[in-house]
Symmetry: C2
Subunit: 129 residues, 2 copies
């Protein structure tokens, strides 16, 4: 079953094309980081975090390994290796009635990988800001 939101997402990831986030994200999009509790609110911040994630993870052997799709939510499980550490995580995506992503949450395991992503994302966000 094809889903326009997920199709657009996968195309963006395959091409490592963070610029396409402008079309994919809703104006009121919210990003929930695997590291920090406080949500990052708004399209600009969500784009910033997702761009950094795409740059950090996109340089690895990142691939999706499981996809569970509902009416307005999908959970995409991924795996990759970074600095010799296995990273396993989920992109939890919610979209609005227009098919735009308005909520994006990432969770990571195991603990070593959360700590690694914390460090790498911090470095990347400092460069981007």
């Amino acid at each position: 079953m094809s889903n326009p939101t997920l199709d657009a997402w996968h195309e963006m990831i395959e091409k490592r094309n963070a610029a396409a986030l402008d079309d994919v994200l809703a104006d009121d999009a919210v990003f929930h980081s695997p590291v920090v509790h406080t949500p990052q609110e708004g399209k600009a911040l969500t784009k910033l975090y997702l761009s950094a994630a795409i740059m950090v993870l996109g340089a690895s052997d990142f691939r999706y390994v499981r996809e569970v799709v509902g009416e307005s939510d999908a959970v995409l499980e991924f795996t990759c290796e970074l600095d010799g550490i296995h990273v396993n995580g989920v992109d939890m995506i919610h979209w609005n009635e227009a098919g735009q992503i308005d909520d994006f949450k990432v969770m990571i395991r195991p603990l070593k990988a959360v700590n690694l992503l914390h460090r790498l994302m911090g470095q990347m966000l400092q460069q981007t800001r």
Copy 2:
């Protein structure tokens, strides 16, 4: 849409009845912890870890807040507060053709919550072993 595996899971969680894991889990069940990369293989170890999780989280205001269900997988997002720390996580459940759970993966956010669960689960597993 009712799903016998998920119905049994929810009933078990509502009653905090870890004994029901015997019926719910497949013999070759595998548990993937939010903390450690190495899978815990077999029904006995999976039951041990899930029982500990039910005891640790079951004492809190644990509740499911989102459910995404596929043909043979479901992702149940939960939230609770433990020791004043917000815990947000997913139970990623895969079942076999007999409807028994053969793969159970947990991911937790944010980082503070992973560290807290690491400590509390460690204590609980030491008591149980």
